[in-house]
């Protein structure tokens, strides 16, 4: 699955010291092909592409729905927002890698760029 020079979700999570709320082993091995940042779900629906990392401060269950439909590689929830247990459960069932950071979206995106995720 992994292509040369491409970071995996696992490497992103380790590189930025992210909390892992939900993730199957397989979903951690997905390559991260780019990124989308934004908190309006309709905009994420329109803009996020398959295999990208989605950075958002939203933490409710619809984030998982949008992540499933857009087939993003993972979601990073910023500003320390905490998804509720039901959301985590849904993410696990739908195989969505749900990660978290205490930092803001801007800092997380900067970190992703530093790691080498293509802009």
């Amino acid at each position: 699955m992994k292509q040369e020079g491409t970071l995996t979700v696992r490497e992103v999570a380790e590189g930025l010291g992210l909390r892992v709320f939900a993730a199957e082993a397989a979903s951690l091995d997905r390559p991260v092909l780019g990124g989308y940042c934004g908190d309006l779900l309709s905009c994420a629906m329109a803009g996020a592409r398959s295999g990208q990392v989605w950075v958002t401060l939203q933490a409710h269950r619809n984030v998982v729905a949008v992540a499933t439909l857009t087939d993003v590689a993972c979601v990073i929830i910023t500003e320390g927002a905490q998804p509720d247990p039901e959301t985590v459960q849904t993410a696990e069932r739908e195989n969505v890698a749900l990660l978290g950071s205490d930092r803001g979206s801007f800092a997380v995106v900067a970190g992703l760029i530093r790691l080498g995720v293509p802009a």
Binding site: Q3, D39, L40, L41, S42, C43, M45, A46, S50, T56, Q58, H60, R61, N62, V63, V64, A65, V66, T68, L69, T70, D71, E86, E94
Partner: protein
């Protein structure tokens, strides 16, 4: 090749009529599931004599030729016999190998391998990854064994049954076959919202839809579903009609209705209250997203009686549902 041991009768597998279980499976299985791996390969600078030793030791009748990790040819027992007859046992493999090679991809349906065998009298076909590197080899015998394994119900993997649904449009014939999926959506129920769209997406994947088309349907369906959740008094219904060449999404509700459709269709126009916006909705892009994802779009609404939205996504030529998945 039809007489060689362990080969499949490719002609019978290619006939459309009288769909047998084996014919069905040949579409469902992917090459990865039947191929032999790891591959015994030779280098171009080895001699034909060394090739003979290698084939004998491995009990095989041919091998791909690999140079610095790259597949550059294929050489068979026939080539070896020809070389020996000419007294050229010390020739390098490079001189006798076939360069013009047929390959299949590991995620191709097995039918692609069957077609390849039917197109040329070859005994084995190298299998390559999406990146083009050699990952396995497939022979008629491999296909037969793979089919026998798959026919054994105890070995039926999830992956196999997963593809089963993709033949519904081939198996059931009428002048206009369609599959109707109906979901009821409750107002303000954010804990179940998006579920209908997720189910529609999964259904289309099982029917063999391509990712790009599935995405368009999923996005349009999600936005339409969320409109019922966010804006209606009593919820509504999502009706998805799947045809081999197009998917129609219809949502109906009983109110409150849209007072100014023209404004509602403008990108960025939103009537959502703050608490809805806090959930990430209310960007005013919902209808715009539906319109952008669909090929036909209509919205009719009357204040007090309700709204009906229809969005149709054409799947396009070569993208029809109900065909075996191809890469």
């Amino acid at each position: 090749m039809s007489s060689s041991p362990g080969s499949v009768d490719t002609r019978s597998l290619l006939q459309d009529s009288d769909l047998t279980k084996a014919q069905e499976l040949v579409y469902e299985l992917v090459v990865r599931q039947v191929m032999t791996t790891p591959v015994v390969s030779v280098q171009p600078d080895q001699t034909m004599h060394e090739l003979g030793e290698k084939l004998r030791a491995a009990g095989i009748a041919g091998a791909p030729v690999v140079e610095q990790g790259e597949l550059i040819g294929i050489v068979s027992m026939n080539d070896l016999i020809n070389a020996l007859e000419r007294g050229s046992r010390d020739d390098p493999v490079r001189q006798w190998m076939t360069i013009d090679i047929l390959t299949v991809r590991e995620d191709d349906s097995v039918i692609e391998a069957v077609k390849a065998f039917a197109s040329r009298p070859v005994g084995r076909i190298p299998v390559v990854s999406a990146q083009g590197s050699l990952v396995g080899i497939v022979t008629g015998g491999d296909i037969t064994r793979g089919l026998v394994r798959a026919l054994d119900l105890d070995h039926r993997s999830d992956e196999v049954s997963h593809y089963r649904a993709s033949h519904i449009f081939q198996d059931i014939s009428s002048h206009d076959t369609s599959l109707t999926l109906r979901y009821t959506v409750s107002p303000r129920d954010f804990s179940h919202s998006g579920e209908a769209s997720a189910k529609v997406k999964r259904a289309l994947q099982r029917l063999g839809g391509r990712p790009e088309a599935v995405r368009r349907v999923a996005v349009a369906c999600y936005e339409a579903e969320m409109n019922l959740v966010i804006h209606t008094d009593a919820g509504g219904e999502v009706l998805v009609e799947v045809r081999p060449d197009r998917v129609s999404i219809t949502t109906t509700d009983a109110g409150p209705g849209i007072s100014d459709i023209e404004s509602a269709l403008e990108a960025g126009f939103s009537t959502a209250p703050d608490w809805i916006r806090d959930l990430g909705f209310g960007a005013g892009m919902g209808l715009e997203n539906i319109r952008r994802c669909s090929d036909e779009f209509s919205l009719r609404s009357e204040v007090g009686s309700g709204t009906k939205l229809v969005a149709v996504v054409y799947l396009g030529q070569g993208n029809r549902l109900g065909r075996a998945p191809r890469s």
